[in-house]
Amino acid sequence: MKGCVIVMAGALALGAGVAAPHVARAADEPALPHMKWSWQKNFGLGTIDRASAQRGFQVYNEVCSACHSMKYMAYRNLEGIGLTEAQIKAVAATKTVPGAPDDEGKPTTRPALPSDHFADPFPNDNAARAANNGALPPDQSLLLSAREGHADYIYALVGKGYVDAPAGVKVPDGLYYNTYFPGHFIHMPPPLADGSVTYADGTKASVAQEAHDVATFLYFASYPENDQRKHLGVRVAGFLVLLTGVTYAVKRRVWSGIDH
């Protein structure tokens, strides 16, 4: 039993250790700040901080969405961060999405419904590039899950990364210097400033606060199943612990008559 557990643990460790992020950050990139995110609390059982995610949605809605699409998110999904049906309808109604062609076959637009996916800021990638100095702003639905460092990276990039370039480093025209961006030259101008948004709940809108909130919202966009998964997981694991105990007791009893 003991040897078995050790080998099993070894195999698991091999899998986990080897699969862990192994892309070393370049020497001139500072280490990412290690934030304590709401979903990492309670031994990783934490749920998404809804107040922060709602503020983060506000930042996305008022700042990021000018350039970044979020095509896998629908307005109805905002229920997952605690918006009411009426609020979702109101948010959707302010957006314009392509409608069905009219009687003459001409394209039309209409206000969005909760069932619509987030409206795209640009009609296509070429339009997006043209408006952004040749760079394509990445879709934000899975942005956080597609970057090493996840929320820590997003937070650092938009909350702390924009600093003056070190002496002697020439930043090309149309690019910006960011300590956390691989290669340091990024097309995105500093997106956040103190007071970029006015939070309804009175939270002070500092750059760090906005970055924190938008990272929380992007976590939700990448992993919308987080809360449901963990709620279910606790119950499943609890049940299995009990079942394991009972099964082990039964096994002991069955084997009690055997010399082995």
Binding site: V7, A16, H22, S141, V234
Partner: protein, 428 residues
């Protein structure tokens, strides 16, 4: 009645069926009374666990396929639809995705057990070889499954691995074109991989059946590696090993659940959350963790064809393991040198896995080459170790070493339930 099977079952319905189609007799013989060595440790759970894992993969896979679109333009979107819109689609996918990693954890422990306790030796050579075939089928299935989400790592992994076949002289490029269904990895590749990914698990299921038939002909090996001598050495499979396997199953479910619900992305690459992009190569192209040691071997050999041969050879060599090992003793418990070699092999695999996960530069090149040489040295040394090694004395029987001298006790293996050992080992 002429032609009908004589059934021992009392229940008239069961008896009616059993005398025409003796499934109940089969199950009772193979999983009820089946005489099994009584000294298994928990390593002997892993075959059953891998079978359960296969069934879970097929079950979740069937439901995923109902919602998946096997086209280059639709695959990535359909996976996101499964994660976001399909009822419990996230659960199906996370179970399936991590189920692949669980499968390899189970299989690698299962193979370790087979090697450590000498389960591959006569008369179990074919049992072992069907197992190696299963490993190869599993790897092929896992690789093709990894391509289906059509993320960056899916696409570029598929490109790298399929290109390996191009190293084969003369027909190489022709094979690669055939695999791709075109002149690059694209829609036809995804279509055929999806089709094969759905097909192979059922072939695996068939080979598992052969694996189990072969097992039930020879009977199981055991931690002592000595043959069953008498009825005292065995217990009926049920309830003894059904009970013990159930414990292992619960622990396996618990580990699986903790991964799926708490750390479902621990095995995944961030790059696979970016849709496949033909024009942009990711910084690092790495396969899933379970293929890393072989990937390291591939990259450690400077010549492409030789590297491909070494990579495939590192698994194919397992087919001849029963004949490479010349020692008559099975269990490493009684083989002091082989025992150390086994642990060294495991350490070497971990080292190779680590090398495979990193860019082949600096020290990693040297480590990879040393690891590769050591890997093959293990197999090259086996015949000589078998001849030179002095094994420890073997116990007389399975019952003997665990029977403490008892006052008044006979030589019996404890009170066995009636009918336990009534049937000898022979198979119908």
């Amino acid at each position: 009645m002429a032609g009908l099977h004589t059934s021992d079952f009392k229940n008239p319905v069961v008896r009616w069926i059993d005398s025409r189609l003796p499934l109940f007799t089969l199950m009772s013989k193979e999983y009820g009374q089946f005489p099994t060595p009584k000294n298994f440790n928990y390593f002997w759970n892993f075959g059953a666990l891998a079978t359960i894992n296969l069934l879970i993969m097929i079950a979740t896979g069937v439901f995923l396929a109902m919602n998946y679109t096997p086209t280059a333009t639709g695959a990535f979107d359909s996976v996101q639809r499964i994660m976001r819109d399909v009822n419990y689609g996230w659960l199906l996918r996370l179970v399936h995705m991590n189920g692949a990693s669980m499968f390899f954890i189970l299989i690698y422990v299962h193979i370790f057990r087979g090697m450590y306790y000498g389960s591959y030796k006569a008369p179990r050579e074919l049992l072992w070889m069907t197992g190696v075939a299963l490993l190869l089928l599993l790897m092929a299935t896992a690789f093709m499954g990894y391509v289906l989400p059509w993320g960056q790592m899916s696409y570029w992994g598929a490109t790298v691995i399929t290109n390996l076949f191009g190293a084969i002289p003369l027909v190489g490029q022709w094979i690669v074109t055939l695999l791709w269904g075109g002149f690059a990895v694209g829609d036809p590749t995804l279509n055929r991989f999806f089709s094969l990914h759905y097909l192979l698990p059922f072939i695996i299921f068939g080979v598992v059946f052969l694996h189990v038939v072969a097992l039930h002909i020879t009977g199981s090996n055991n931690p002592l590696g000595i043959e069953v001598k008498s009825e005292q050495d065995t217990v009926p499979f049920h309830p003894y090993y059904t009970a013990k396997d159930s414990v292992g199953m619960c622990v396996y479910f618990l580990v699986f659940a903790l991964i799926v619900f708490l750390r479902p992305y621990i095995f995944s690459e961030v790059d696979n959350n970016i849709p496949a992009n033909v024009l942009q190569t990711p910084n690092e192209i790495v396969p899933e963790w379970y293929l890393l040691p072989y990937y390291a071997i591939l990259r450690s050999v400077p010549d492409k064809l030789a590297g491909v041969c070494c990579m495939f050879g590192s698994i194919l060599v397992l087919f001849v393991l029963p004949w490479l090992d010349t020692s008559p003793v099975r269990s490493a418990r009684f083989r002091p040198i082989y025992r150390i070699m086994m642990f060294a092999l495991v350490a070497d695999m971990v080292l190779l896995g680590h090398v495979g996960a990193n860019r082949p530069e600096g020290l990693f090149i040297l480590e990879g080459r040393i690891g590769t040489v050591l890997y093959f040295a293990f197999y090259a040394a086996l015949p000589f170790v078998g001849w030179l090694e002095r094994p420890l004395p073997l116990p007389e029987s399975i019952s003997r070493p665990v029977l403490p001298p008892r006052s008044g006790g006979g030589g019996g293996g404890g009170p066995l339930p009636a009918g336990v050992a009534a049937k000898p080992m022979e198979k119908a």
